[in-house]
Symmetry: C2
Subunit: 298 residues, 2 copies
């Protein structure tokens, strides 16, 4: 595996693959890799000739008072995991390399979607994500890019961004990986005290409780959300929201047959998010895999 820290170096490393019209896959991450990330790499490996993983803790997507400074940076360990996962190129640029001017004048914003749910609680967050993903798409020029479904709203923002700006990149969502007790894997889980870690699976339990209610016929979306918020609060969580939405994140009709349930809640200093897709007639976690074709033309 090659490690590149500059755009120039990365371009040099990608030259042969580009000349050979190889299918290039990009897995953008902020590092501190866990099995969820490795699942993304494995999916990329399955579909692509050459897999690039980027590790970049992007300051533009962190708000004032958020955890940019203390976000775990574990490049040596990450590198070992990526070698084991048969990653071809690790792109690990510095902030100066990614932002030649800071603050950067140009921003990409995805209106509507970016302003609610996590966007309402983290102003500017999704613009930071959309901007850095645009940069990474232009730097790596991948055919496919892989993002975790754990960050469901982020994935929706990136799909919208890609369609709206006509990026020649196919976006692949990869299902969430969970600990045995149901907690969705996240680099931020490392912030949790042992006591909070033992409480944290309640988020997934709450998602499953709502899913069961929906499958049992309840359509009292607001009522279900309110009960879930109360349950989380009673156990020491500070929920930002519990929401039942259509899969495109609109407010669902009572005739809906498919939903995504989304939770964001603080536990101590740690903000956790999770979501669960629910289909009438399907197991909650059962999703159809979309066929994949390289979309960067020719």
């Amino acid at each position: 595996m090659k490690t590149e820290t500059t755009v120039q170096g990365l371009n040099a490393s990608l030259t042969a693959a580009r000349l050979g019209r190889k299918t290039i896959g990009l897995v953008p991450t902020m590092g501190n890799l866990h099995s969820g990330h490795i699942q993304l790499v494995q999916e990329a490996r399955r579909y692509c000739d050459l897999v690039v993983v980027s590790i970049f803790v992007n300051p533009l997507q962190f708000g004032v008072g958020e955890d940019f400074d203390r976000y775990p940076r574990t490049l040596d360990e990450d590198r070992k995991l990526l070698v084991d996962a048969s990653c071809d190129i690790l792109f690990a640029p510095t902030v100066d390399q990614m932002y030649q001017q800071w603050p950067q004048a140009t921003l990409v914003t995805v209106g509507g979607l970016s302003e609610e749910l996590c966007g309402a609680h983290r102003p500017g967050h999704f613009s930071g994500v959309a901007t850095v993903v645009s940069k990474l798409f232009n730097i790596v020029q991948p055919n496919l890019a892989f993002f975790g479904e754990k960050d469901y709203q982020q994935l929706a923002v990136i799909r919208r961004l890609t369609a709206d700006l006509c990026f020649p990149v196919e976006i692949i969502g990869v299902p969430t990986i969970r600990a045995a007790d149901g907690l969705a894997l996240s680099s931020r889980n490392a912030y949790l005290s042992p006591e909070d870690r033992s409480k944290a699976p309640l988020i997934y339990q709450t998602l499953n409780w709502i899913a069961a209610e929906l499958l049992a016929g309840s359509r009292e979306y607001d009522n279900l959300s309110a009960k879930a918020v109360a349950t989380l609060k009673s156990q020491g969580f500070e929920p930002d929201y519990v929401e039942i939405r259509s899969t495109d994140l609109l407010h669902p009709e009572s005739t809906a047959k498919e939903w995504v349930i989304l939770v964001a809640a603080k536990l101590g200093q740690t903000r956790l998010i999770d979501n669960l897709l629910v289909n009438i007639g399907k197991d909650p976690e059962l999703r159809s895999k979309r066929p994949v074709s390289a979309s960067r033309k020719a």
Copy 2:
């Protein structure tokens, strides 16, 4: 010359060039082509194996009450001019083709630069430009893109956008083409009444008067601008601004040796813009040509 009206058709037409690693040049226009546009095509022809001209009157860059509806659309005449100029592919998409969702959720904004001069008088204009140029870059995937220096601020916005979002595209500015009496060629000149057309060269004369004052040693930027505004008003113009700036559009020091003078003024219903670069020790119109190298890698 091929004419393509869909992204799919354009991709099909570009396949061979992409596979053959040809250098692709893009000339984005709004049509109603004149010698200024043809100059852009000829520059593209000089540097590129394959020249794509886009014609798209982009609704996103027109404000409420501006001339989107009456902007001249002359596709048949444009096509003939492009054949004569040895354009390879005309890309002329519909609004529906370019904006599958309207209004589009995703916007690209270039902060700072976009908010002053023309941006102050046309709110949202440069975001509309930056967004559609981003889309065209992703659709065509050119190595080089050509823009007129007549739209000096637009060119600066596009250079900033391209650098900030790491587009693998080299931006080439092409000098303004003028009528014999000095009026910068523009599709909007067609709106002018015969009487206003005869007055219009005063804009270029005003630019040259300021240039002469700067070359003669004056550094009273505000005073020069104010006098120029007064002159234009006395002749029936309604100036939006007359500004003397550094070439990166900042306010110049008194020790500056290079400036751009920018004018925007209404004459009747027609908004005209023009600019002039001035270097101490150089003729006002004399500019160094930058060497060109394809920047889309490999």
